[in-house]
């Protein structure tokens, strides 16, 4: 087994890195892959609560780095899926507790046991970000359709290229189709035009994400969630399947509009 190592990063905070990591992990696991999600946000750990595993933590990643436990002792198995694991970040330390070399060494160890290693990067462009991208085979950048988030994504794309980790792939998260339709939110095409990057997924704004996070259950397990469906599609694209992109721009032409109106009417 030799896992594909994917780092999820963004520059700006709060755009959905942790949600994306947890859900891509769950979706890949549901599709039969052996997956580990690694929280690289040392000092601000959150992947554990999003995955609903906060009560099961004994050892964390810094314990492994500093030799207080074996790597496999820090692996927490998911409650629902037996082939999904988490390695939590330390909460009481900071980013300097880990070096890029540590990340590469331990990711290589994980690579032998898994199909996918997903790394949840901290926000920012400093040490934590450098740590998170050091072992990556592929970098996935996540952004929202907002000027500040897109600007930061552009900066990250530049840094990824400079580190020769490119080309990165883009997830556009929290799109509100209604706002795009009336011209009050940047659409997918606008953002791709500005960033010149390959798209791997578009995720609509969805209240079910908040509900799922409240409960510590990945939203991909909710079959009625549009965001969940979008994350599942991204997982399939990571696996090499060709899946058409969701149309959330409302620019689906005359027939799309008619169908929508008929659905709304019926």
């Amino acid at each position: 087994m030799s896992a594909q190592i994917v780092t999820v990063t963004s520059g700006k905070g709060g755009v959905g890195k942790t949600t994306a990591t947890a859900n891509l992990g769950a979706a890949l696991a549901e599709l039969g892959n052996r997956v580990v999600c690694l929280d690289a946000d040392i000092g601000l750990r959150n992947l554990d609560v999003v995955m609903g595993l906060e009560n099961r933590i004994v050892y964390d990643f810094v314990d492994v780095v500093e030799g207080r436990c074996k790597l496999r002792q820090a692996l927490i198995r998911d409650k629902r899926m037996e082939n999904l694991f988490l390695i939590p970040a330390a909460q009481t330390r900071d980013k300097t507790a880990v070096s890029p070399q540590d990340m590469v060494r331990l990711s290589k160890e994980l690579q032998k046991e898994f199909d996918w290693v997903l790394i949840d990067s901290p926000a920012g462009i400093e040490r934590g970000f450098r740590n998170a991208i050091a072992p990556a085979d592929m970098v996935v950048i996540i952004t929202n359709p907002e000027v500040s988030a897109v600007r930061d994504a552009d900066r990250i794309i530049g840094l990824i290229e400079a580190e020769e980790k490119g080309p990165a792939k883009l997830i556009l998260n929290r799109v509100k189709p209604e706002m795009v339709r009336r011209g009050d939110m940047l659409g997918t095409e606008d953002i791709l035009d500005v960033l010149a990057i390959q798209l791997i997924g578009i995720v609509p704004e969805d209240e079910q994400v908040t509900v799922a996070t409240n409960q510590g259950v990945p939203v991909v397990l909710n079959s009625g969630s549009r965001a969940g469906k979008a994350f599942k599609n991204i997982a399939r694209r990571l696996l090499g399947e060709e899946i058409p992109f969701e149309n959330l721009d409302g620019r689906d032409g005359f027939f799309g509009k008619i169908t929508r109106l008929m659905k709304a009417g019926g």
Partner: protein, 87 residues
């Protein structure tokens, strides 16, 4: 909100402003030339060129532009109108 506003007609779409502002700020970000640095550069260019030819320094414009993937620094430097006969 009236109907025209709701379908994005009859007013400026804020997404268009977002895109324009982004494109401009990214030109500066990517080149590492902030508007402040560009201003300094402009002053130095005016100094240098003024040593060789009389220019209308108030009319000088230095801008970063982007054509496809090529970023350009474009300078427009008006000369002081003079008589045809050399002094």
């Amino acid at each position: 909100m009236n109907f025209l506003d709701r379908v994005g007609l009859g007013r400026r779409r804020s997404a268009d402003s977002a895109k324009e502002r982004l494109q401009l700020v990214l030109i500066h970000d990517r080149s590492g030339l902030s508007p402040g640095k560009l201003e300094t550069l402009k002053d130095e260019i005016i100094d240098t060129i003024s040593r060789h030819v009389e220019i209308d320094s108030a009319g000088v414009e230095i801008n970063l532009t982007k054509e496809r993937e090529q970023q350009r620094l474009v300078a427009d430097i008006p000369l002081i109108p003079t008589n045809r006969r050399r002094r």
